[in-house]
C-alpha cells in the first residue's frame, strides 16, 4: 500500500504488522502519535493486542519486561525524559535478555524544556546492552521497526532493540511510505526462557561475584553475533521487499576525499550538501551511520572525516566523533550541531566541510575550533 505518512505513523503501522501481544503506552512529545495510533488500531479491531496505558515510563518498560518474559511480542515508544525515566529498566530489559522493541523519538533533555531533535537521549543508554539503529526517512522508520522484531527475537541475539527517529524532523514529517504484506517474515514469538510453570525457573536472582561477570559476557557475545544477524535480516528484507539497508548509508563515498558522517535526518540532508560541494569541485561523500550498537566496522582509510554530533558528552566530546576516532583511528573534525533542534541546513553542512580542521571541535553557533 503506497501512501504518505509521518515517521510516527510509519512506526505505528509497522507495529500493527508485527502484531505484538502487549503494548505499553505513555504519552510524551514528540512520540505521542505512535501510542495514539496504536490505541486506534486496537479500538478499531485492526490490532489484537493488550494495550496497557501505564502511569509512567518506568512502568512502561517494567510492563514490557513482564509481558516479554510472559511470552508475547512487546512494544513501547518513548522519548527524551521518558527514556531517562525508564533508564534502570532499560538496563534490566537487556540483562533479562528480552527481545523488546522500543521506538525512541530523539529529543533533547531539560531543563529548559525542549521538545526538538537531539540524540543525547539515546546515547545516554548506550551502555545498556540494547541494540540501537537510527533511521533517516519515514520508509526506513517502518522497515527498521519490522526488522527490529526479527533481529531482537533471533535466538543468537535475544536483546532488545531501540529504533531511533528524530523528534519533529522525522516523527512529524510526511513522506512516501510503502507498507508491505509481511507474509512469514516475522516468525511467531518464541522466547526460550519464557515463564513456564511446567519448567519453573527463577529469573534474575542474587548472583555473586564468581558468576555475574559470565552473564555480562553473554550479553556482549550476543551483541557481537548480532552483527551477522542484522546483516542476514537486512539481506532477507531486501530480497523479499526490495529495499536494502546496511550499517551505513553511503552517498558518493567511493571516490570521496572527505566524508561527512552524521546520524538521523542530518545524515540525509548531508547528501544535498555533498551534491553542492561536488559542484564546487570538492570530492565529498556522506556516510549516514545507521547502526550505533553494535557499532559497525567503518572503512575510512585515507579520507578526511567530518563528524556531526547531534549530542554531547560533557567533559569529553561528541559521542559519534569519539566513537569513530577510537574505532577507526581516524581523527575527525568534530562538529557539535543540532542540539535541541537547532536548525542545521545543507548549506551549514557544506560549510562544515569547507571549513574543516581535523582534530578540533566546533560548536555550531557558539565557537570555532576549540
Amino acid at each position: 500500500m503506497l501512501t504518505i505518512a509521518t515517521g510516527n505513523k510509519a512506526v505505528a503501522a509497522a507495529v500493527k504488522a508485527a502484531k505484538p501481544g502487549v503494548v505499553a503506552a505513555y504519552p510524551i512529545t514528540p512520540q505521542t502519535e505512535i501510542v495514539e495510533q496504536i490505541a486506534e488500531y486496537v479500538t478499531d479491531g485492526d490490532l489484537e493486542s493488550q494495550y496497557i496505558p501505564v502511569e509512567s515510563e518506568h512502568s512502561a518498560m517494567a510492563a514490557c519486561i513482564g509481558a516479554s518474559a510472559g511470552g508475547v511480542r512487546t512494544f513501547t515508544a518513548t522519548s527524551s525524559h521518558g527514556l531517562l525515566y525508564m533508564h534502570e529498566m532499560v538496563h534490566w530489559a537487556a540483562g533479562a535478555r528480552l527481545p523488546i522493541v522500543m521506538a525512541n523519538v530523539n529529543r533533547a533533555l531539560g531543563p529548559g524544556w525542549n521538545t526538538w531533535a537531539e540524540h543525547s537521549d539515546a546515547f545516554s543508554q548506550r551502555d545498556t546492552g540494547w541494540l540501537q539503529v537510527f533511521v533517516g526517512t519515514v520508509q526506513e522508520a517502518y522497515d527498521a521497526t519490522l526488522m527490529a522484531f526479527k533481529i531482537a527475537e533471533d535466538e543468537r541475539v535475544l536483546l532488545p532493540v531501540m529504533v531511533n527517529l528524530d523528534g519533529f524532523a522525522l516523527s512529524h514529517i510526511m513522506q512516501a511510505l510503502e507498507t508491505v504484506d509481511l507474509g512469514d517474515f516475522l516468525p511467531p514469538y518464541h522466547l526460550p526462557h519464557a515463564i513456564d510453570t511446567e519448567n519453573p525457573c527463577v529469573y534474575g536472582p542474587m548472583t555473586g561475584p564468581a558468576d555475574y561477570f559470565r552473564f555480562r559476557w553473554d550479553i556482549e557475545r550476543s551483541m557481537r553475533d548480532a552483527r551477522g544477524v542484522i546483516a542476514e535480516v537486512e539481506r532477507e528484507f531486501a530480497e523479499r521487499f526490495g529495499r536494502s539497508y546496511g550499517p551505513t548509508e553511503d552517498y558518493r563515498c567511493e571516490d570521496a576525499d572527505v566524508v561527512v558522517i552524521a546520524m538521523g535526518t542530518l545524515g540525509k540532508e548531508a547528501e544535498v550538501a555533498v551534491d553542492r560541494l561536488r559542484d564546487e569541485g570538492i570530492k565529498a561523500g556522506s556516510m549516514r551511520l545507521r547502526w550505533f550498537r553494535p557499532f559497525p566496522d567503518l572503512d575510512l582509510a585515507g579520507r578526511e572525516v567530518v563528524v556531526i554530533d547531534r549530542d554531547y558528552s560533557f567533559g569529553f566530546g561528541g559521542v559519534v566523533a569519539h566513537s569513530i576516532r577510537s574505532k577507526t583511528g581516524v581523527v575527525p573534525y568534530s562538529v557539535i550541531a543540532g542540539l535541541g533542534g537547532q536548525e542545521v541546513t545543507y548549506n551549514d553542512i557544506a560549510d562544515f566541510v569547507r571549513n574543516r580542521h581535523p582534530g578540533t571541535e566546533t560548536w555550531f553557533g557558539v565557537s570555532d575550533h576549540v
Partner: protein
Amino acid sequence: MYEIRIHSRGGQGGVTAAKLLALAAFRDGKYATACPFYGAERRGAPVVSFVRIDDEPIKIYSQIHEPDLVIVLDTSIMDVVDVLQGLKSGGTVLLNSAHPLLGCNGTCRHVDLTGIALAENLVVAGSPILNTPVLGALAKMGVVTFPSAEKAIREMFADERNVKAAKAAYEELKA
C-alpha cells in the same frame, strides 16, 4: 523543487492542509514532504507548515527559508508573523481573504476560503474548514492537478462537501 509555506493558527487545519497538499502532489506522481513546525499543542497559536514538491526524492528536512509560495489561512496572523519573509522574488502569495493584499511584492492571489467553507456549511467545532477548499485554489494555480486534489480529499475525508468546497475555490480563484 517547489517550496510552500503555510501560515495558520493551531486548530484551523493548517497542518492538515500541508498533508493534503503533499498527498495530492504524491498522487500526481511527484515526491512530496509536509512538515509542521510548532511546540506543544496549543489551539490558537500561530503555526507554520512546510511542503516541498519535487520530481526527485526530497532529502531536505530543514525549514523553508525562501518559499516559492506562501499561503496564509488566517490573515490575522499577519499582525504577529512576517508571512512574506524570504519569499523568493517572483514568488506567489495566496491569502484566505475576500480582499487583495496591499503592497505585495510578487504575485498575490486571494480567495475567500472562509466564505466558501461557510457556504458549504463546512464547519467543525465552530471553525470553518479551510484545508480542503485551499486545495482547489492550489489546483487552479497549477501546484497540483484537480483530479489529484479530489483524490487526496476523498482519501482523508468522507464528507463530499469538502470536494464541493474545493471546486468552489477552484472556480472562485481569479486567474
